[in-house]
Symmetry: C2
Subunit: 341 residues, 2 copies
């Protein structure tokens, strides 16, 4: 899922997002609650009508942003209380309020509110936050009233195999339409991330989507699909695109480098994105000259690249040749595939 934090995938019109091959996009409850406000979004027809996106939309719960963007951040059993990063206003976010916001936004998939803490932390604190997250998941389930909105639970537990298993098992016993693996891509090594996905997914229902939140590099997608993940979201394609980095089958290209100055080749042959209609030299010029078109074109390329990658992954899985496909891609980027288990 391309990330549309504030009701827009940064730098792209909604038609351009669709033309990358994306099926589903993500919106951020925390950001939209603060600006323009979920009630305003509702009065503008909801997130679909407002943005013009008619495919599915997933909204996160705000838990991670309260932790990463807010200040104050007092968490009690009842609620997370934080100060808005925009105007300093105090906001009280309960599981029930998170669901109320997401119902007002009108997303197709809502996420439960979880209690996110900074890691590493004392074992008692980790266990306390985890237990609270499971209670909050139950409160979210109970608060949910829209029959047209799925609700996904979030498995926490850091890098601790025992906690991940316990959390996954408890949540799997509750009635959710899908399950996310949260709390990764926060500074751990790729190997730690892959190992944690591998120990978590076996405890989640195989007939429901398994979603790895906030991940990741093209390599991360391949290695985590190998470990049972179905769905991802990440700002990486668009954020890197805005910073002049383009993903290719030979690894990333930094468009600001002088080597591209008079290079007439596109980023990739046979890529149907908007950037690949132009030369690398032109793209470099756009970044050098700080023109908005550079970020737009590279965001479109990177999302097209990610979308094509996931489409090829699905085809390879259907045709029973995922392992071979994955190894080829990983080696193109300079990595050896990491053996499972």
């Amino acid at each position: 899922m391309p990330v549309g934090t504030q009701g827009t995938v940064k730098g792209l019109t909604i038609d351009q997002v669709a033309s990358t091959g994306a099926d589903m996009i993500l919106g951020n409850t925390y950001h939209l609650r603060l600006r323009p406000g979920h009630e305003t979004v509702a009065r503008l027809g909801g997130l679909h009508a407002m943005s013009g996106w008619d495919g599915p939309i997933l909204t996160d719960s705000g838990g991670f942003q309260v932790f990463s963007l807010g200040s104050l951040n007092q968490v009690t059993e009842q609620a997370a209380t934080f100060r808005s990063h925009i105007d300093g206003a105090i906001v009280v976010l309960t599981p029930e309020h998170s669901i109320e916001i997401q119902e007002a936004l009108g997303s197709d998939v809502a996420m439960v509110l979880d209690h996110v803490i900074a890691l590493p932390a004392p074992q008692a604190e980790v266990e306390d936050a985890l237990a609270r997250s499971i209670r909050w998941a139950a409160r979210c389930r109970a608060a949910s009233t829209r029959s047209d909105q799925a609700l996904f639970a979030i498995v926490q537990g850091g890098l601790d195999a025992q906690l991940r298993r316990q959390c996954a098992t408890e949540l799997a016993a509750m009635p959710f339409e899908g399950y996310a693996v949260g709390g990764l891509s926060v500074g751990e090594t790729p190997e730690e991330m892959y190992a944690t996905a591998a120990i978590t997914t076996p405890h989640l229902p195989v007939d429901k989507p398994r979603y790895l939140m906030g991940v990741g590099t093209p390599r991360d997608l391949i290695e985590n699909v190998a470990r049972g993940i179905d769905l991802f979201d990440c700002v990486m394609p668009t954020r890197n695109g805005r910073n002049g980095l383009a993903f290719t089958d030979e690894g990333p290209l930094k468009l600001r480098n002088a080597t591209h100055r008079e290079d007439q080749r596109p980023l990739m042959q046979d890529c149907e994105c908007l950037a690949c209609r132009h030369s690398r030299g032109y793209l470099r010029h756009l970044f050098n000259a700080k023109e908005m078109l550079g970020p737009t074109l590279l965001s479109h390329h990177n999302l097209t690249y990610y979308g094509r990658l996931m489409s090829e992954v699905r085809t390879a899985l259907e045709q029973g040749r995922f392992e071979e496909y994955a190894a080829g891609k990983l080696r193109g980027w300079g990595y050896e595939p990491i053996p499972l288990g």
Copy 2:
């Protein structure tokens, strides 16, 4: 002509520029000479291939930017010498070098280099710069070698009717494919601008394009077409769009205003631009949240608005009802038509 200063119309892909109805775009010799350099543009296939624009392109000569952006700015009979606003490098711009740059860029229409001075200025200085501009126009004509590139002369003379007539008459006697009225939209009143266009155009050939440089508001377009102008360029649609201002038949809308917060209406009914697929409330949110999509959508709207205006002007002229059309538009914006002569 939408303005594509650095080889891109700011905020829009080249397909989006075409979809505004624009037939021709402008590029800036001064900017492209400094970055990425005209030789680099040539090695990337020229301005058309680099930007992907296959319609006509006009390049200005750099004279106005030397005056407005450069520092140092020593002008002798031979050349204008200035410091680059990017890296402070000293650049010597002769009429011959301006043509050489424009030939390397590969535009369809090149402009002569003129000697632009700050006004008001002593009469002797004004006359001296004017005489030099005419001599430089002849040098540009002599330096021009591409048979596929038209060359337009530029009439200067400030607000002085006598000087404008003299300059227009002298240039009209020389073999140029078109004529521009320069030195306007630099702080004079609309009435002074219109009066100057009115005294200049009668001295220019009726069978060649007459181009008013750097103009202007929707009102300016209408009033100057009434006075014989065929062609315009201006950053106003895109620059204002980036700043949250949208042109409409009822005058400009400032999208940042709180009044638009929950307004579900598009900017205009029956406008086929990308912005008018969304609500004013959403557009306001994009500007409030500093999202790139706001500038992109409003730039597309404003260029579509300008393009539709000029298209309607052409139709009204062909059908002999320009005066009626112009009066209706002007009154919609809150202006009375200014009588000719």
